[in-house]
């Protein structure tokens, strides 16, 4: 299957009709229904928009950078007059009265949104099993999870149901499913992409990011969705580079660091071998490599689960049954409405995190947990800043294991949390990171490599990622 970049080119050149492409993609979505990647598919709307775009092309009008491309959006990003469920019973019937900024940008660039993808409820999870609409399955092996929480978007790309997809990444929710499904996924720098219209899980960690089949595709899509937004005060007015142009630059000026804390006990042997093979090839290609120490990595998971759950407990307080969404029936008074609406409306993992977050913010515990976690977070950020004074890019595994089996970790939240062990530090530090598929295990499961760079250095990730993809691991680009 062609990359988004190629398909856009072909479309602009009149090589296919979008109306036909929509039928093809809808058929594939139908054929892969058992993967449960989508919560909603906008078949009629997509056909309508395809006809419009085809007509505009025929009239010779100029078309945006996403024209001809079919895009899937994670169902925690709002689209005006459409449902946004967050895979939760509590928002099952919620219709958004407004567009997320990224959705406006996609539409302005003439992208076509085909549907909303499945996720762990409110983006809380690492397997897309915590969904009110059922688990999503990995197209590589349907008995395995696609990772999460943006599992539906990763699967949509891996199985050819979309050219590009949006996810959100709070602790690894783009990179980990990208690794499990063998696609490219970017967690942009905090403040690079507007969060306006992303249903908040943990506001200081959340970031919307793209999925694609190639680094080029992800670079193309990032260029569209990035940039300051007056509706999100946490976005930063740093200029958005022309990433596709940047890709062309030889990356051998980049110094690469290998943090040993990411290669210790718990890392799957095949993943380690695959990554070191790439590292060795980089050495042969003349790259400068350095050993880097990031000793605070050990504290990352604990820090993450305090900060993230604290913010989540507050962010999810608005789902109270008063104004929108699910409200429990037959309640006697306000207290009971709150209790029952939230008890019945949220799933187990969401309730676990709300309780954890409420606890760490409580009087008497705030100093010991939340405040301490913020201090450690600051130190982790400082540690990364120091590392990026020495090197431009850090190479690590994205996940400690390849995709695990459905249900395998569902009853053991701690094991589930540990599947984010290599990804959460990036969110805590606010930096950017890319998952790059580099190999397959003997069983055929995708292996992901993570490239990390300092704030607003997405260009460096794309340059090195593109080089590795093209020069060192071309065989991983095949799609089932």
């Amino acid at each position: 299957m062609d990359s988004a970049r190629v398909r856009h080119q072909q479309y602009v050149e009149g090589k296919f009709r979008l109306a036909d492409a929509v039928e093809d993609y809808l058929e594939r979505i139908e054929a892969h229904k058992d993967l449960n990647a989508f919560i909603q598919v906008y078949a009629d709307e997509a056909r309508e928009r395809a006809r419009e775009l085809d007509a505009r092309r025929e009239r010779g009008e100029s078309l945006g950078d996403l024209a001809g491309l079919i895009i899937a959006v994670k169902d925690n990003i709002v689209i005006k007059d459409h449902l946004t469920t967050c895979a939760s019973h509590i928002l099952e019937n919620f219709v958004s009265p407004y567009h997320a900024t990224v959705v406006e940008k996609i539409l302005q660039a003439d992208g076509l949104i085909i549907g909303k993808t499945n996720l762990d409820e409110f983006a809380m999870g690492s397997s897309t099993e915590n969904s009110y609409f059922g688990a999503t399955r990995n197209p590589v092996d349907p008995e395995r999870v696609p990772g999460g929480s943006s599992g539906g978007s990763a699967v949509a790309i891996a199985a050819g149901m979309a050219d590009l997809a949006l996810g959100s990444d709070t602790g690894g929710s783009i990179r980990q499913p990208a690794a499990f499904c063998g696609v490219v996924g970017l967690k942009p720098t905090y403040g690079r992409v507007s969060r306006y219209g992303l249903v908040a899980y943990a506001s200081s960690l959340d970031q919307i990011g793209p999925f694609g089949r190639t680094v080029e595709d992800v670079a193309l899509f990032t260029r569209i969705i990035a940039g300051a937004d007056e509706r999100d005060s946490t976005t930063v007015p740093t200029e958005v580079p022309d990433y596709l142009q940047e890709l062309q630059r030889d990356p051998r000026d980049l110094t690469i660091g290998i943090p040993q804390e990411y290669f210790q006990e718990g890392l799957d042997g095949e993943i380690r071998t695959a990554i070191f093979q790439v590292i060795d090839r980089l050495k042969e290609e003349g790259f400068t490599l350095k050993e880097i120490r990031l000793p605070l990595t050990d504290y990352a998971i604990a820090t993450y689960y305090i900060v993230a759950t604290a913010e989540a407990s507050s962010n999810l307080a608005r789902y109270d049954g008063v104004r929108y969404g699910f409200r429990a029936e037959g309640v006697e008074d306000l207290q009971e409405m709150y209790f029952r609406t939230r008890s019945e409306g949220f799933g187990t993992e969401v309730k676990r995190r709300i309780m954890l977050g409420t606890y760490v913010l409580s009087a008497g515990y705030y100093e010991a947990y939340y405040k301490k976690a913020q201090q450690v977070r600051r130190m982790i950020k400082d540690e990364f800043d120091a590392a990026f004074r020495e090197v431009d890019i850090l190479i690590t595994p994205t996940t400690p294991t390849p995709a695990f089996r459905l249900g395998e970790k569902l009853d053991d939240p701690l094991q589930m949390y540990l599947s984010d062990i290599y990804t959460v530090t990036v969110n805590l530090a606010g930096i950017c990171a890319l998952n790059l598929p580099i190999a397959r295990t003997q069983q055929g499961l995708p292996i992901g490599m993570q490239l990390m760079a300092g704030m607003f250095r997405e260009s460096d990730l794309f340059r090195l990622g593109h080089f590795i993809e093209r020069q060192l691991t071309p065989s991983t680009q095949q799609v089932p």
């Binding site: 407004y98 997320a100 306006y196 007056e230 946490t234 507050s314 008063v322 705030y366």
Partner: protein, 479 residues
């Protein structure tokens, strides 16, 4: 044992910005319920707050007017609690690192002395919506109006420096005066644009330790604050005197019953779980901006009062009343730019003008007589065209018709009679017509003098110059 009260006030003032603090919705009062809302202030999934700079400017104004330090770096925090009129389940407020801190205001006590009251902090926050319990509209249900939700507030926290309900009252009056002078709040307590909660404790006079305090809420007028505090101080003293102990709790003032009653414990068992608001970047305030705001501040009430005493040689009492509001002080100053008798102007503004404002329940800005017209009226008194008494008649006519005083005097022939010969003739005639009274006067019954004055005035329809009438009468009676 003798007790003294220790009172600290938390005052919320609604800021007069055109739009809400974190979204672009209008803040106009009294619109159709829920019409002034958007996804942001409704707390829809996915929305983010964007800070209204004007609200920050207003808060800094109040900080500067109360001699606070303006923090170069401050941040917002979330105050978490569930309530139907709080759409996000948290209020964006400030906790650690407030915008303004460590200031004071000077209040004036009834005996004319001044007292300095510390301001611990002033911070910015958003207002909640309104829950409406209306059996006609909603039966047993509660309705929620979110128009007010997101209107900017400042919370002004005083030090526990107030020692009596009267001091608390004077402090509130001063705060209201400040916010209205600054033009950042309309200061209307009855409508809720100024709200006050109090922390109250009592202790034996001479003690330096604080007693157990209670919090009193729901006092929606200045007088109610005074009444509620008096009630609560007496309750605490009686409790201690009878061997009891004050329990730390929140009380709601019931103005009708004239008592403060404890809230149900469930309602006050709050752990707000404050933490820094991650959706807003910290506020970084440039000193140059603070300087610009400082330069834009109007003359504040106390300074203006002192200037009135100095420049217009007014007694403190007059200066205090005339500077009570910025608009009244402006009016007075406009009068005295055209009328040089400052005290006469003060008497008229404090007397006749304020009387009419009270009677008609209007503000000085709605007063039908302009400062220039009033000055012209006073000048007619000063140049003896009319007497003070006739001036009041003219004044009433001005109120009713809006006409210029000179025109009224002319039209109605009200000009004072100052011609000596004319008055003399009338005096002679009056004395001739009342020989009995003349005899009484001359035999020592000087009280009848007033009678002669009255007769002369009646004959001139009040227009004779009273000084001249006195003088000529005395002269003629001596003959």
């Amino acid at each position: 044992m003798k007790y003294e009260a220790v009172i600290g006030l938390e005052v919320h003032a609604q800021l007069l910005t055109d739009s809400k603090i974190f979204c672009g919705c209008s803040t106009t009062f009294g619109a159709e319920p829920n019409s002034q809302t958007c996804p942001v202030c409704l707390g829809m999934p996915g929305v983010l707050p964007v800070l209204n700079e004007r609200a920050v400017e207003f808060a800094i104004k109040m900080g500067l007017a109360t001699h606070c330090k303006i923090a170069p770096f401050s941040r917002f925090a979330r105050k978490n609690y569930f309530y139907p009129d709080l759409p996000k389940g948290y209020q964006i407020s400030q906790y650690e690192l407030p915008l303004c801190s460590d200031g004071y205001v000077d209040i004036e006590l009834e005996d004319g002395t001044r007292k300095r009251i510390g301001i611990i902090r002033i911070h910015l926050e958003e207002d909640a919506g309104k829950s409406i319990h209306d059996p006609v509209l909603a039966g047993e249900d509660t309705l929620v109006d979110l128009n007010r939700c997101g209107v900017p507030l400042i919370e002004i926290v005083s030090a526990p420096d107030l020692r009596s309900p009267q001091e608390a009252y004077a402090y509130l009056v001063r705060l209201k005066q400040l916010v209205t002078y600054l033009g950042i709040c309309d200061g209307n307590m009855e409508e809720g644009s100024l709200r006050c909660d109090a922390n109250v404790s009592v202790r034996p006079v001479g003690s330096t330790e604080f007693g157990v305090k209670t919090e009193v809420k729901n006092m929606n007028s200045f007088r109610n604050v005074e009444r509620a505090l008096t009630f609560e101080i007496n309750r605490q003293i009686q409790l201690l005197e009878s061997g009891g102990e004050v329990v730390q709790e929140t009380l709601l003032w019931d103005a009708h019953a004239g008592e403060a009653r404890p809230m149900r414990s469930k309602e006050e068992a709050h752990d707000y779980r404050y933490f820094p608001e991650p959706d807003l970047v910290p506020m970084v305030i440039e000193e140059s901006w603070v300087q610009k705001i400082r330069e834009s501040l109007p003359e504040l009430p106390l300074a203006r009062k002192e200037r009135f005493m100095e420049q217009y040689k007014l007694p403190a009492y007059d200066a205090g009343i005339l500077t009570m509001t910025r608009e009244l002080a402006d009016y007075y100053e406009a009068v005295v730019t055209e009328c040089r008798d400052y005290k006469l102007a003060s008497n008229w503004v404090m007397g006749e003008v304020l009387r009419v404002l009270n009677e008609r329940k209007i503000e000085i800005t709605e007063f039908p007589i302009s400062a220039q017209q009033l000055a012209r009226l006073l000048n007619l008194i000063l140049d003896e065209t009319i007497s003070s008494k006739i001036a009041k008649t003219v004044y009433e006519e001005m109120l009713n018709t809006g006409e210029d005083p000179a025109k009224i005097v002319e039209k109605k022939g009200l000009a004072q009679v100052t011609d000596r010969a004319t008055i003399e003739a009338i005096v002679v005639k009056v004395l001739e017509e009342n020989p009995k009274q003349v005899e009484q006067y001359r035999s020592g019954k000087e009280k009848v003098f007033g009678y002669f004055v009255g007769q002369v005035m009646r004959a001139t329809r009040g227009k004779a110059n009273p000084g001249l009438v006195n003088e000529i009468l005395k002269e003629k009676l001596r003959e």
